[in-house]
Symmetry: D4
Subunit: 232 residues, 8 copies
Amino acid sequence: MTSDHQLDLGRRGRLGMVEAIWGEHKSADQLARIISTLHGQGELALATRVNAEKAAATLSQLEGSGSVEVRYDAQAYCLHTAVLPAPDPALGTVTIVSGGSSDLCVAREAQLALQCHRISSELVLDVGVAGLHRLLDRLEQLRGASVLIACAGMEGALPTVLAGLLPQPIIGVPVSVGYGVSAGGQAALSGMLASCAPGLSVVNIDNGYGAAMAALRILNSGLNSGAGVEGP
Amino acid sequence: MTSDHQLDLGRRGRLGMVEAIWGEHKSADQLARIISTLHGQGELALATRVNAEKAAATLSQLEGSGSVEVRYDAQAYCLHTAVLPAPDPALGTVTIVSGGSSDLCVAREAQLALQCHRISSELVLDVGVAGLHRLLDRLEQLRGASVLIACAGMEGALPTVLAGLLPQPIIGVPVSVGYGVSAGGQAALSGMLASCAPGLSVVNIDNGYGAAMAALRILNSGLNSGAGVEGP
Amino acid sequence: MTSDHQLDLGRRGRLGMVEAIWGEHKSADQLARIISTLHGQGELALATRVNAEKAAATLSQLEGSGSVEVRYDAQAYCLHTAVLPAPDPALGTVTIVSGGSSDLCVAREAQLALQCHRISSELVLDVGVAGLHRLLDRLEQLRGASVLIACAGMEGALPTVLAGLLPQPIIGVPVSVGYGVSAGGQAALSGMLASCAPGLSVVNIDNGYGAAMAALRILNSGLNSGAGVEGP
Amino acid sequence: MTSDHQLDLGRRGRLGMVEAIWGEHKSADQLARIISTLHGQGELALATRVNAEKAAATLSQLEGSGSVEVRYDAQAYCLHTAVLPAPDPALGTVTIVSGGSSDLCVAREAQLALQCHRISSELVLDVGVAGLHRLLDRLEQLRGASVLIACAGMEGALPTVLAGLLPQPIIGVPVSVGYGVSAGGQAALSGMLASCAPGLSVVNIDNGYGAAMAALRILNSGLNSGAGVEGP
Amino acid sequence: MTSDHQLDLGRRGRLGMVEAIWGEHKSADQLARIISTLHGQGELALATRVNAEKAAATLSQLEGSGSVEVRYDAQAYCLHTAVLPAPDPALGTVTIVSGGSSDLCVAREAQLALQCHRISSELVLDVGVAGLHRLLDRLEQLRGASVLIACAGMEGALPTVLAGLLPQPIIGVPVSVGYGVSAGGQAALSGMLASCAPGLSVVNIDNGYGAAMAALRILNSGLNSGAGVEGP
Amino acid sequence: MTSDHQLDLGRRGRLGMVEAIWGEHKSADQLARIISTLHGQGELALATRVNAEKAAATLSQLEGSGSVEVRYDAQAYCLHTAVLPAPDPALGTVTIVSGGSSDLCVAREAQLALQCHRISSELVLDVGVAGLHRLLDRLEQLRGASVLIACAGMEGALPTVLAGLLPQPIIGVPVSVGYGVSAGGQAALSGMLASCAPGLSVVNIDNGYGAAMAALRILNSGLNSGAGVEGP
Amino acid sequence: MTSDHQLDLGRRGRLGMVEAIWGEHKSADQLARIISTLHGQGELALATRVNAEKAAATLSQLEGSGSVEVRYDAQAYCLHTAVLPAPDPALGTVTIVSGGSSDLCVAREAQLALQCHRISSELVLDVGVAGLHRLLDRLEQLRGASVLIACAGMEGALPTVLAGLLPQPIIGVPVSVGYGVSAGGQAALSGMLASCAPGLSVVNIDNGYGAAMAALRILNSGLNSGAGVEGP
Amino acid sequence: MTSDHQLDLGRRGRLGMVEAIWGEHKSADQLARIISTLHGQGELALATRVNAEKAAATLSQLEGSGSVEVRYDAQAYCLHTAVLPAPDPALGTVTIVSGGSSDLCVAREAQLALQCHRISSELVLDVGVAGLHRLLDRLEQLRGASVLIACAGMEGALPTVLAGLLPQPIIGVPVSVGYGVSAGGQAALSGMLASCAPGLSVVNIDNGYGAAMAALRILNSGLNSGAGVEGP
């Protein structure tokens, strides 16, 4: 039938990545069907941007199906295979930093996506630049990470300040909190792209999953000399 | 005749401010005529946004006229009455901070406008947030200012970091240096307005004169309890 | 645990300001927990942008906790410690002017934020420039303020007209009322930034709290010669 | 040949208007040919947005042609038939008000376009709202006009203030002077459209000719009860 | 008390216009109170942008108050004094043209606002330019109007085509129907401002009331030679 | 060497199209080298967006090279192989319509690109919708075309009106003439995309070449039942 | 009565197209009345952008009316005459390609609109460019289509890749799925217009109906040599 | 003196990076002085965005100064210390891919910045997605790189296609070539941020230097386990 979802099951082999399901415009029906298909083929499932109501409907549809167990992470707005693989510290660690507690959902989405690929991570929240000492106090801790992901809304200055202080790869994630000129995350996005700090790269607004995948590409490349990644 | 420039000569009495002449869309002819009129009435003249070529043409027109002497400040792109009043430290001091040396013209415009009103100021340049230590090293010096003016292009994070560290009134001036998303100063402007630091206020892109006048209003209000300012 | 809210409790010492809680993207749970923490440390609490429903939920969570009493200001959309410190007229007064009665919530947010810092203020509403006489009739009253905060939506011309008439520091707050080109407050913001009146500075759209903090910085600087503010 | 300019010579009969030639994207060659054609048919010629250099080239091409004489108005950036019809006060008068002397070229374009249709007009310049008294002093003079055209750049508040004070038809013309957020006239345009004053209508940025034609439609409708305008 | 609505009751005397109440951001409480005040002073009341639910709440509050009767016009989204003054054809007529039936609410708002000022009007709907013959068939009827108001969403070409065919004053009203690039009415607004037809003037998106007031200014000016309008 | 231009010489086989050279960001050196390479392989050369000065430099570089002759079309701003293939009427005809004579360069670019593929075309200029009769008078002529290309700047209403009157495929090309809101062609682009006329499709602003290629795809598909186009 | 919907019933004769009803801003009442009118005149009815709730209300109003049967297509968000004419393969086929399963509603709207005109079509879903092999695997199938319609949200690269591989007419439809910079479909729209692939033309965001009508114009022109289309 | 350029000489120690000089808004005087200072301290100098004329002026100022030799790279628009350190393949390689030959200057800026840090790189130009085979033919070569930098203007689809095919870290650089909606690089930027391919990260428009520094951070992190980078 023409309208079936055609999964990109070769993605793990090609890119070393699980294909995440973008849940925002899908119905509970569609989500349940896709998750079942993935589980039937022995794949992990990760569906992002699923609100609580749609998650409940999806879970109740999946319940009777005898499928592998699925869990809803209400902080990350994600549905995922309940049992995720154990993190392997040898793959490197990612530290996810955020400017305010309103950025939590994006930071958690990134963390969950990393976990699906066995990458261990830690969250360092509420270290916005309006109280610089909170950030400077954590600097030694941040220095230990293989890759930094920095989430920030409002003016989005956190990744700029970090990238001026630390030498690691750093991925900025603009977050759509704010109001007036910062509503929707556009000011944070522009601020990160316009950054005077060298070597900061950026993903789309609220794209925690994308930042995690950019970090994964970096970690994999370090392990494998960049040629022939095998996936987690 | 209807098309004559009608000067707002009451501005000094009403607001305690000299009326600056916005030079960008005026011809050398118009500038020379307005400066002569002001000098004829015993007023200072300050014309902003005058490029070197137009300045030369204006100066050569003014030369034969026997008028008070006029000078061109090539860093500030301003023409002004050559002899400005001596600064009076009792009126307070303003420190003008900038992120990069490309912001110099805006910072200098602010400084010159303050000087026209007898306010002393100092410039602290090249303290952008990508090298945070440069800013932190100057913190004690900045703490002594009555009012801070912070000029920044690119992502414009400097005023945000400052406003999180220091308690004074702070006026952000976005600067139109940059490229891509920061071309024209829009990213810096949005970043300053969206700032997570409390109590930062902002003027138009490149508006060094406006920031100086906002500082002047503050200094005057401190001296006079806010009621009945008499002007410099 | 990583995801706890990390309060910036040093802000009062550093900047002389209470840290306001931005309520828009926080849950009633998060709000109740933060307010309790602040009260436990003897701090005032002020949470902005809390709608009536979330306020009720937060209040009912706080009720049983034996905490200091909290009140909801439905005009300002703010939750705050019920008993605020008495205003001290020696600190100066702020007059908050608005163009239309739809701007009331922003004006009230500013007033409440000032009250948390013992600053007395008065509201002058409905003096929009379409009926200029209403504004001109109040001019003598406005002349008495230490600082003016001018809130306006639509075309946002009120602060421009005021800044041409009065010499005090004046902070413009664009308000997100309007439709078509003025929807979201962008036209008012641009109008204030582009103002032909000298020395008007601006904060983000709807940022009543930010305007209050900018006014507080000015008032504190007048009292303390700008060096070493101690907080209210 | 296909690429000839096809003049809309019926416009005078249909709309009571001369067809103006928009000179900005036309060469001196094209302008000279169109002006000759119009003169050959006994029509007036008015070409707008012609810079001084292109005007000179056009005039020198026309010189040898034995055509009716053409004049360049350097303030209005317009070429026009040298001898324009005498104004007829019975048709009503238009007063063209502007906020700053940088708006002069737009105001003059409007005036010239009115003159081509025998409408008398006067210019009232430099009555910007930052010095409100300059405007209030001219109020009685403005009260006598049949239609008001108000040109303003920057924040564009002038037409709003006027429309709150006077009952006549008023047409706002945003002007592309300004910098930062007002560069290009967009802030002035938004401000006029968002105006809180009732019944202000607006034309495109810098469209002095369009404002004149809107005024002409109004004047003609008053004379002829709106049905069957015959043209000047 | 400071937060009372301060009505601009002098508007009728000054401008010959009733002050309309912009209902979008006001509560039923506020609306009921303002309407009562107006009726108490013998004024008409017209509140625009009131949805059905808020209208019902306002009406039920007004019911017991013994005030003059109020009516809700569900097509125009307006509350108004039930008995409006009889139209006086001697004042001229306005024809309101619209491109699609989705523009009806804006057209009706304009019609109601005219009726409050005793101006008779007629609606000509569904004459969009995609079926040009529908418009051409009505041309003779449109030729009889004193003033034309043309409402259009999508690409907003209707006023342009009309202004090329008819000589009357014509006011374009962009309407916020459409999707994609025309969502919110911005494409229609730009199209009308950019129009190649001479003398079309424009009001804000969805501003039916504003277009009516612009028409009223025109009609009044025709009657009174533009000086000293007395109001309907 | 790595930085050589890598021509897509398979394009003719794959798509039935000559690869045009986009000349705007290329130097005369680069243009001369690419044109020589194409001629050396027996291909036509067409370079778009080449200004007169760069064209002269390119031609003088090519002169001594013994290459096939090249010609500059100053109306289309294009360099092209001097001898183009003869048009074949059996392939269908394209009529290129434009609203104003300022659109000529875009219309000519389209015509030249069609000629390179042996498609005959005609230009119908100056039939803008402000003088609707000019368009209606040509309707029968337009009815004969296989495909219509409609170029328009300003508000861009011409393709909308055409698409409501005629059944053929019609491709709108927004043109970057205009000022204020129509500067750069954005208003015309939005107007065409938002069009209320069904089945109008659009290409990028000023993209005459793209419109020609879209027309070519249509003509080829008619001849070959859409499968296996062989190129002109 | 003035406010009746005035159907463009001549559209089929003039353009060979059924007039679709744009359902988004119409009430169930209006929809039911228009559908009845069309059925009464022997016309097909197709109403686009009707959500499930409004569809149910419309259907229940139509039920008792004895009208021709109407059906709701929940995937396409369309109401339509239940019995559509049988597809005629001789008219050509359209293949509708989409990048993700979230684009389904737009693709289905296009398919339904084609079906109303007897055009057969097929859907090829989920062939986004992030997994290029999925697209390359279907290339031979796509080569058989007369016209291609390519729907894509996010970055909208699908039509660009297709247009570089296949010679047919190809119409891009940007889809409003996505978040951050791609929210609302603007990034996809810009990407398609800016495409480096030659001859791709584009319709408004989400305009499946418009793409279908553009395809219909192409198919009809192939059959009839572009002159005198008779409709399906 | 206050206006001296304050170099961030600690950057190499802190971040392992040479501080590049952004040449766009600096005069030849300023550039010569900064380059001399850097050379005096034994540092490399790299000045980006220097046009040919300013480069010549800078070089002639430096000539007599006895400083280390400086060279101008006209493809990269960069001035740099003539003798750069030899590349060290053990640090990894970067492949810089570009869509069209107009992107060359950005690609070369990246390459030069890498060379300053001893990173070897290669350029793969003209592999735009409109001729997909050109890209697919180079896939094996690209698979060998440690990090990919992909430069593209127009619709910017190249990095998306690459990121769907290859597992390495990939940094997208939007390029400001294009016209209409792609002018200035905004369409390419949005396209890359909105990409449906996972893990693509992006830098500012034309920011070749920034992409190089992001690549350097990645290469350094692979060598040093992310903690304690020592610089090249």
